[in-house]
Symmetry: D2
């Protein structure tokens, strides 16, 4: 266990908090507040989120991390025998160690394209369930789980999201969007889905903090208060209410105060676009188009090895005998020079 000295792009949660967040925590540190999210900072953050989503009635909850948020949310909306439809690449399908099944729910996986599901595939899945004369022997789809951006950094367009939302409402299924990196979606020019759109089209979604520059914390939004009868109970049963609730509240209040949230994401998206364009210019193919702060080039293993003492990314998947997909993430702390340096190093390798 030694210190990381290389410039690593392995993930976007390797540093602490954005300095403004840390400063705000220090400024408010000595004040006494109520526990469990009943403090004024949490309430202020909730108000800012309601305003940004244009849903003055929305229920907003703060949680410590993404897996926890997904597991509690799915349990809050579904009965134990209902399942949740997700892409085979969805975080809940592959990277949550059974957290959804811990709440008794099957994850009903569908094939994806660059991490995305289609309204048509969801509709057919529900149709197959309903047409099965013995469907009480199978798991009832009760919810659709999407991520925006997806695990591949790609985006649902407004049109795609509207189509999925319509299918869900027709079929009386809940629609839930995992926004661990939502800021990166909101900040990019390619995106046409706003927070009010999410609030209008989804039954719940979360605005991620951990991967954006908070020490920890995610903000879950349930736009329609009629759907929030149960969340706080299941949140406590999951051990997912923080005693010093202000810790997450203060951070979100700061992120949303003067546009810090958009500012961080905008810069990171821009650097990712620069890196992506540079990699393509060097002749590297991408696993998926770069739309947010993650870039997925297919690199020859030799090239990756040649720069490994100075620059690293995160292994994503093996492509063939001599190539791998590597994930490069930009975080709030990644300097532009690091991007330039990485491209320069690869340029030398390509010779």
């Amino acid at each position: 266990m030694k210190k990381e000295t290389r410039l690593t792009f392995a993930s976007d949660y390797m540093e602490g908090a954005h300095p403004l967040i840390l400063r705000r925590l220090a400024e408010t540190n000595a004040e006494k507040t109520a526990g469990y999210g009943l403090d004024e900072y949490s309430e202020s953050a909730r108000e800012k989120i309601r305003a940004a989503c244009r849903t003055p009635e929305a229920a907003v909850f703060f949680l410590a991390g993404g897996t926890q948020t997904n597991a509690v949310m799915i349990d809050a909306f579904l009965r134990p025998w209902q399942g949740v439809i997700a892409a085979q690449s969805g975080h809940i399908s592959v990277h949550e160690a059974g957290a959804i099944e811990f709440g008794s729910h099957k994850v009903l996986t569908l094939p994806h394209r660059a991490g995305k599901l289609t309204a048509e595939a969801i509709r057919k899945c529900m149709e197959a369930y309903l047409q099965d004369a013995n469907h009480d022997h199978t798991v009832m789809p009760g919810m659709v789980y999407l991520s925006q951006p997806t695990e591949y950094g790609t985006l649902y367009s407004l049109k795609e999201l509207e189509a999925i939302s319509a299918v869900c409402r027709d079929a009386d299924m809940r629609l839930y969007v995992d926004g661990a990196r939502l800021a990166y979606a909101l900040a990019t020019t390619e995106n046409d889905v706003s927070l009010p759109d999410l609030a209008r089209l989804c039954d719940a979604f979360y605005i991620g903090g951990t991967k954006l520059g908070a020490l920890c914390g995610e903000a879950l939004v349930i736009p329609n208060p009629a759907l929030d009868r149960d969340f706080r109970y299941i949140q406590k049963q999951h051990g997912a209410r923080t005693a010093k609730g202000r810790l997450v509240g203060v951070q979100f209040a700061e992120l949303l105060r003067d546009g810090l949230y958009a500012e961080i994401a905008h810069r990171e998206d821009r650097l990712a676009a620069k890196l992506s364009a540079g990699l393509e210019a060097l002749g590297y193919a991408l696993l998926a188009p770069t739309q947010t702060n993650q870039v997925f080039p297919i690199l020859p293993d030799a090239d990756a090895a040649a720069i490994a003492d100075r620059y690293t990314g995160g292994f994503w998947q093996r492509e063939d005998e001599t190539h791998s997909v590597v994930r490069f993430c930009i975080s709030w702390a990644t300097p532009e020079e690091a991007v330039d340096g990485l491209l320069e190093a690869l340029r030398e390798v390509r010779g």
Copy 2:
């Protein structure tokens, strides 16, 4: 939701972090570290804990909060059909909203005295199970849950803990100690149970951070590494692994670096003793003897009302028509003048 302007003793987690902890978070903020507790700060904190417990082989895990820690720990040691013996006043019995049952375990409650169980009562409970010819129709006790200090602020003596440990080992039950406020036990002169004693007598225990001056975080210790085959898996399944694991790691490394942990607790225990003695001098009876940072006087409702615009505690339970038990907690941020002021205010009321 307005700011708290009164001097409130309602709990010990109403302020942020101890200033030294916050400073350390700032100092280390820009460094890149691995996620999920694999960073060097978490490892350093683990080493300090192993040293303090004199268990170089112990497994140590960091979690965000107490209910979460209890639920994950109990799930890690027990099979789903096994239950956990606890006092009727135990945190897992009454204040965790079904978190233990969420893992399928029954909490097998026993009567308590000032929050404490006896070795004899535990032995009889296990004996009754074994003597029942149909015991496979009942829940098998697989673990004993204690808290040190208890929910009443009281302490198990070394002798009591040794007796309970012996009963557990005879009966092949695990012994687990909830140390949400463990520092307050360790720092008081009345205590004769050290960290190495806990490590020797228990199968697991946690050292609390949240109620001691951390922003969040608890450190779970499993002294015998042979008993730690499963924790990290169930921790992830519970959504209880923090992406920026350094957040808790840095805090515990700081708490344990130069004795800050003991220093905070020692001061708070001393103030609680001062408050307790002052209340008794004023003629108030106590629900339980004051041994750590919590004081439980039985106050006439009139007295509490008379000072309520300046000083408040936390309602604990109704005693009779005109009296209630109130909990006064001392935190790292409680100034000695607040204790003096509270006593003075009550002295005026008593006239």
Copy 3:
């Protein structure tokens, strides 16, 4: 493992099925029917139950056994974080090996008198929950579980049941009655609670078959069809739908065809009353008044030992150093001579 040659009163499920039931199974054996309870015999039994309860709209489900029925029912009505209020002596509290906790529910136990709860105690329990400012840290009572007759063979009167039902409806809690031995309640002259009363006052109850003379099977009734949205799904998730659903359906159709159900129970209640009166005449005290088919005398251990080669009951609990409570159950197969013989044997012992 040798054959039982003594006359044992240990339980009421030691023989196979009442001969008329067995005959009916043979008569219908060769017919082809749909599986999973969709057959005409199950439907016929459902119709008979609806008629007897005067609830033409009721949902009726057949299950294989009592623990299974309780666990599925409680899961169907409650959300995972809700608990169920029961007597400390309730079957779900002590004899189901954690089956209720397997569905994540806490059993909230209250003291009992001869197995019975009072409306007042239930009301206070709910009131305490609601008055607790932090009640989202505790388990929400969502249902009340009673048994009629109770585990002590005692009966709720109509007045008592009406009071409990009113408390439940005021507090928006479901009321569920475990009727493992319901026939014995219905058949006794002391009883004033009819099936239509149960259907009017409860949200669900089951009519037991196993302990009445069926090979297996219980009939769960949900009088208000608006409350039955979910049962069949959770029933399958629990593995509690029988492929050859006719097995239970045929048996209940027969039990309810010409009053066999009442006839069996009436005879057994009468024999229990005879046994009870005889025991009291011999000077034995009873743990609880005999109201149905179970008798609970407090016997000197010497007396029990003296007849043990000819007559046995079931050990219930130790009373003191030299006495135990023994349970004598009457089943459909207990001949009247066995009751006479048991009394005669004890008379000789008493000398």
Copy 4:
């Protein structure tokens, strides 16, 4: 809901019990026996099973149905965060309504051929898990689930099963075989896997009764008693212990007494082979080769419609716009004339 008058081949559990089983239930009906499987009939059946498997030490349990048996077994062997590998067509993958997830386990599905998995695919799945540096974020494969015969009626050869068993032992995974229709496998000449082979190669398997001619009941075998520490506890927690345990015990004792088990299966396999050959002679293709008592022809919808007033099968899946796969099952009660009649009717349709 009207009586079935057509000759239906929809499933093999549409009639009651084989007459010899029913006779034996009647013969033993009046005897008193201990409950919950502790009776002498259950013990006798267990002994017969141990003898047939040549595992004198095996633990044997009786349960009421297949989904229940699978769910309890998987819970008994796995920790909650471990998953079970199964074919995408496996019963636990698609037809148990979330029963496995109810125990918190993910079903890790792999592609199949005619319902079968390969040792190689299982090995690769485990290898991928172990090679993933972050595998504690994914579900640990802890068990492999097969069915013999499969849901398509096909068989694993001894060589295939040995290869799978070797992979499981190398990887410290349990191997479990669902034998809902095991008799049909054992009785066919194509099969080379005996009960002693299953006992040698698997950690658990069950011998199905419901689909073979019992009223209900499955016999679970755990050949190595060291692996049976927990089953009876989790069985009760699932509500899966039958009070009148003799009901299943008597049936299995009879099935195994004089070879009735093999005799029933042998006849049904033969009729299925006759039906299969006849269908192929008429030019119908099969979805999978006929190896046991189920036949899966791909029928033009017009042909099925033409005979639907006299003969029906069970819809399996749609093949194309004008064809469907239909399942024809042979049961203990299917007369040979029904097979002849079905073929004759189709011959007329084919003209």
